[in-house]
Symmetry: C2
Subunit: 241 residues, 2 copies
């Protein structure tokens, strides 16, 4: 029977999918820490000494351009891990990771993740499959950035984020949403206004609530469904090993 602590670890989908023996081995080194809004988890080109398994926090992977413009390439929550470079071999990545919605995460030393990866068990398979899912999210974001309107992208972002929070409320200002989408704040005001007057969402000073998820799903571009389906296909929802 799993301990209370193990149950808490289960709040993250990747940890939950690990076999009990592996989880038991890692659990002494998994430290539950607070993830405050705006905290920069990792900067472009700098090594990650720790990796993070979010539970009820949301982390954006951003690419920041020289002129200060930026765009989110992926959103990571309780389905994933922030920090693939320790096991992929590069040591660093060119992305920046920022906490978009405060909460908690389990932190692990990058070196320990790397060691666990190279023990070549289920954890290795899982992390590789996760990396492929992440790659799908990034690719679909690239296409969505090219072809879809801001309103649809906002819908995609709302759905992906609420999925990863397991909540229908997000603590984000329109300005911070504009930053992750890589558009102007005014465009978000406009798109969010449309969605609100149509009754799909409500928002008020930094709180956005998806009140009619079905209709948001009806309005979002295909990109959301493709990413979601690929995560479902590649990652087990429960422990399977």
């Amino acid at each position: 029977m799993p301990s209370a602590e193990a149950l808490k670890l289960h709040e993250n989908r990747l940890l939950r999918a690990l076999p009990a023996t592996e989880l038991t081995r890692l659990s002494p080194y998994l430290k539950r820490i607070k993830m405050p809004l705006g905290q920069v988890i990792c900067e472009s080109g700098k090594p990650m000494y720790h990796v993070y398994f979010p539970t009820n926090s949301i982390v954006s992977l951003l690419y920041v351009l020289e002129n200060g413009e930026s765009a989110e390439i992926a959103v990571i929550g309780n389905e994933g891990i922030v920090g693939i470079s320790p096991f992929m071999g590069g040591g660093t990545t060119t992305s920046t990771a920022v906490v978009q919605s405060s909460g908690y995460a389990y932190r692990l030393e990058g070196q320990l993740l790397k060691d666990a990866f190279w023990r070549a068990g289920p954890l290795q398979l899982l992390l590789l499959r996760y990396t492929q899912a992440l790659l799908t999210q990034i690719s679909q974001t690239a296409v969505c950035n090219r072809h879809h309107r801001v309103e649809q992208q906002l819908c995609r972002w709302l759905l992906l984020s609420t999925d990863r929070l397991s909540s229908n409320e997000l603590s984000m200002t329109q300005d911070s949403i504009a930053n992750v989408l890589g558009v102007r704040r005014e465009c978000v005001t406009l798109a969010a206004g449309n969605l609100q007057s149509a009754g799909l969402i409500t928002y008020k000073r930094g709180k956005i609530t998806v009140v009619d998820r079905r209709r948001v799903e009806a309005r979002v571009c295909e990109c959301y469904r493709i990413v979601r389906a690929e995560f479902d296909r590649l990652l087990p929802k429960q422990q399977v090993f």
Copy 2:
């Protein structure tokens, strides 16, 4: 001393980086095949029975939307491999791979690549690092799609492609370039016209030549340099093992 055939295998940077023993083991199964223009190497969601190490051909990874619009997320040439799903664990990906510039590639059965990957030697390390480099290219494409103008994106695409061909001439019509960039053909006509009248490139019915590479590099957005630097950092140029 390497055989003539081994020298030919060296035309691909990944194969070249492998230790001689690994290359010798794989070489009986590596079949040099023609890559005709427009050939679809892999479709979204379909398994790859073979993977490809291009030598003088170029393959685009495309995402095709339901309405037929598409965008390239990465361009693969003699620096890489087409087909990471066999070893990443997903079996399939949601991308489509199309030959953009005809030439040759070494083909290998996906299962053999998978087996070689799980022998856990230098090839595994190399493929993981390559996957990370590919991920960087895709991410940077996402940001570039968001923030940069078509002319800069065209420059990026020209430089990335000619790097991967080891040639300054590309066999691509403006229409096919528009398809991979995910923009209209007229925009490519305009951008390419500007570059030609400035003396950076010349083109004529499906042949584009970069005549003044330095000045194209001066006009391209930072995205090209970042991707190039990351490939150089992550992948050895010569055999290192």
